[in-house]
Amino acid sequence: MESIVAHENDLNLKATELRLGLPGTDESEKESASCTKNNKRSLPECAEESAKNDDLDAQHGDCEAAPAAKAQIVGWPPVRSYRKNSLQQKKAEAETGFYVKVSMDGAPYLRKIDLKVYKGYPELLKALEYMFKLTIGEYSEREGYRGSEYAPAYEDKDGDLMLVGDVPWEMFMSSCKKLRIMKGSEARGLGCGV
């Protein structure tokens, strides 16, 4: 049984706390989160009294068992399968990345980015600039990406090549099939002014 004594100023509880895993294995953050939710006692309190070791073990035992048990109980929580399946689908959509290919004219191979990660066009453009080490510049409705060497374009659901930035972000997300970074000279033809 490890003795729980706080040596340093910053307690270093992690090194001294009792847990059911093998020494050296990390308790996942998720588990600790659920532990603190189900049992309102905080770890430092318990760790300092060796008399409470058994409780602590039990607590941690419960904590470790709880997430696993949650996943395994058939029919709990009692939610109709129809509802569960509907939300499951939406969650799955939300969780899986929305990866699209990005090609750049002249580059030997393509890249892939997860559009879900970005909240809007500025972030996406910055990411593209970073990934391909180039500057895309500012979007304007009239001029497109004029003044820049490159223009971001995308292929939509209908197979048409469109300039990035014209439509609202969510609409772009739902219609973008792949991205293409075009060289300035070609790209000028995509400007909205035409």
């Binding site: 709990w76 929580p77 009692p78 739902s174």
Partner: protein, 579 residues
């Protein structure tokens, strides 16, 4: 008027019948039929709406001979726990014998309401062709059919007023079922196909809406986009109940602008649901509806984030019914409490039941709503944690609960503050809510909670128990105390033979009893079955081990018993033993 009591027996039957016409509830009619033989006869022959709470309690033929003038039939099939995957497929609950019998008896069927039943396309086809006055089909949590069956209904039911599909598993055959409504069909009042997964012919849908001037309730599926919704609303400004499909569009577009106008013309909408796909920036278009809404169901719209949800709800001052996801959070429930003073029913569903590190709602939200909404009488609440103190406060704030269902995401979680069982909390609920008819308990619970339930829950009709109790005493308290108990469903609780066999006659006063993963043995079930011929005691036996051994002492995994007038059912699959 002289002695009323003896006079009423000399009224001609037509008068009695006319008086009985005013009785709409089947319970009132049942009571009336018990008064005397002549009343029974008059009532029987005049009853048009029949409610069958368990399709195996009576046979179709018997029903038709008792109520020859039946025009509207409600049938319930599988046990409630089938909703949570506790009942294997092919268990039963088939509609076909009922339709068959009604066809043979030439019944004039007009309305059919089914819950947890299994029906095939052939059955729907037979139904569609056999009853010329057929008006209304409502299917809740049913399965076994495809959109081809719906096509048959659409094509052949000339007087169809209502087609209402709620949470059914329907195989989509992409056969254009909506286009099967003939041009002559103009009688639709209610159409709900929100649970269908496939595309629908939008043009056919728009034409259908345009030619049905009495349409008051329309619930679309996710495949109907916002621009179609706009066109539909323009044609149907008198809608009272709307379920949107996909609600995503560019708010700067002309379509969106037209939608806003169309919505402003829909001054009758009182009930709103759907948003199966949603972009929050489109939500402001429905704000004009909010102030008159009495019912709002956003439980299938996880795309609406908490603050947007709250903004929406702030406009809904007349709300009486609210169904949402627990992403609303305790704070959001606080807004509900301060805004929705007319609220009667609240359901908070879990967005991510097995998610970890995610707050959901806690006892705080429930307490807030109970304090702010004095008319609250029905609640279904999935929460991360609960406390006795909270439940006691809720009980004090809301003595009018008729339905109280609490589901802690961890089924045996104790009081979050004291670590004690939640017995006292639920005890307070049953003591305070004298009209409580339905109760679901969860969290850490000992036999004590059942003592309270038996003692105080005098009007209780349905009780759901999971992972609760310590001994047979718990179940006995309930069986002895709850005089009006109709349905008892228990899972994973340590109740055994002593409790099961203590008062066998009790089960004839109830509709059904479900016990799974409890301590009941095969021997006790056999004893019960033998003593009580008017009960069907069914064992669901999913593993082969039980077949091989004849050890009566072994525990039964799943038992479902119910009272019946017609003995063991003939359609039981191999894995169901009727003892």
């Amino acid at each position: 008027m002289c002695v009323f009591q003896s006079t009423i027996n000399y009224f001609p039957e037509e008068v009695l019948e006319h008086v009985f016409d005013f009785l709409s509830s089947h319970r009132d009619r049942n009571a009336v039929s018990l008064v005397c033989k002549s009343w029974c006869r008059v009532e029987r022959f005049s009853r048009e709406k029949v409610f069958v709470g368990n399709c195996y309690a009576v046979s179709p033929e018997r029903l038709l001979s008792t109520f020859p003038r039946v025009r509207s039939l409600t049938l319930k099939g599988k046990p409630h726990f089938a909703d949570f995957n506790l009942v294997p497929p092919d268990w039963g609950g088939y509609l076909h014998p009922w339709i068959d019998a009604m066809v043979k008896a030439r019944a004039n069927l007009e309305e059919l309401r089914l819950k947890r039943m299994v029906l095939s396309d052939d059955t729907l086809d037979l139904l569609a062709h056999s009853f010329p006055s057929f008006k209304s089909l409502v299917l809740v949590s049913c399965e076994g059919f495809t959109t081809d069956g719906l096509a048959a209904i659409a094509a052949n039911c000339r007087s169809l007023r209502e087609l209402d599909l709620q949470e059914n598993e329907v195989e989509d055959r992409r056969g254009q079922w909506l286009s099967c409504f003939p041009d002559s069909c103009t009688s639709l009042v209610s159409l709900n196909f929100a649970c269908l997964k496939g595309e629908v012919n939008l043009a056919a849908l728009e034409r259908l809406v345009a030619r049905c001037p009495n349409l008051r309730s329309l619930r679309l599926n996710h495949a109907v986009p916002l621009d179609a919704l706009q066109r539909i609303l323009a044609q149907a400004p008198h809608l009272v109940d709307l379920g949107t499909g996909s609600f995503v569009h560019d708010p700067d577009s002309e379509t969106y602008h037209k939608l806003k106008n169309a919505i402003q013309n829909c001054t009758s909408i009182r009930s709103l649901s759907g948003f199966l796909e949603v972009a929050s920036r489109c939500l402001p278009s429905i704000y004009p509806l909010c102030s008159s809404l009495t019912s709002l169901n956003l439980s299938y719209a996880p795309g609406i984030y908490s603050n947007e949800l709250v903004n929406l709800i702030r406009h809904c001052k007349k709300l009486e019914r609210l169904w949402i996801l627990d992403t609303i959070g305790d704070k959001g429930l606080g807004v509900v409490a301060s805004t929705c003073k007319e609220l009667q029913e609240l359901r908070v569903f879990p967005f991510d039941p097995h998610g970890v590190g995610y707050t959901a709602v806690t006892e705080e939200g429930l307490v807030a709503v109970s304090a702010g909404c004095p008319k609250l009488n029905s609640i279904l609440y999935f929460c991360q944690q609960m406390t006795n103190a909270a439940l006691i406060t809720v009980a004090k704030n809301c003595p009018n609960f008729i339905r109280f269902r609490l589901c802690t995401l961890n089924p045996t979680v104790p009081d979050a503050v004291t670590q004690l069982p939640l017995d006292e909390g639920f005890g307070a609920i049953v003591q305070s809510c004298k009209g409580l008819k339905r109760l679901s308990v969860s969290g850490l619970l000992t036999d004590q909670v059942f003592l309270y339930i038996g003692m105080y829950a005098e009007q209780l009709e349905m009780l759901s128990i999971a992972f609760a109790g310590e001994s047979d005493k718990g179940m006995l308290y309930v069986l002895n105390g709850c005089k009006k108990l109709k349905k008892l469903e228990i899972r994973d609780s340590p109740f055994g033979d002593v409790a099961l066999l203590a008062d066998m006659g009790k089960y004839e006063t109830m509709r059904s009893l479900w016990m799974s993963s409890c301590e009941v043995t095969l021997e006790a079930c056999k004893k019960l079955a033998m003593k009580m011929p008017r009960l069907n005691v069914e064992i669901i036996n999913e593993n082969e081990q039980m077949e091989a051994s004849t050890d009566d002492k072994q525990k039964v995994e799943k038992m479902y018993l119910y009272r019946t007038l017609v003995g063991p059912r003939k359609d039981a699959p191999a894995f169901v033993w009727t003892l």
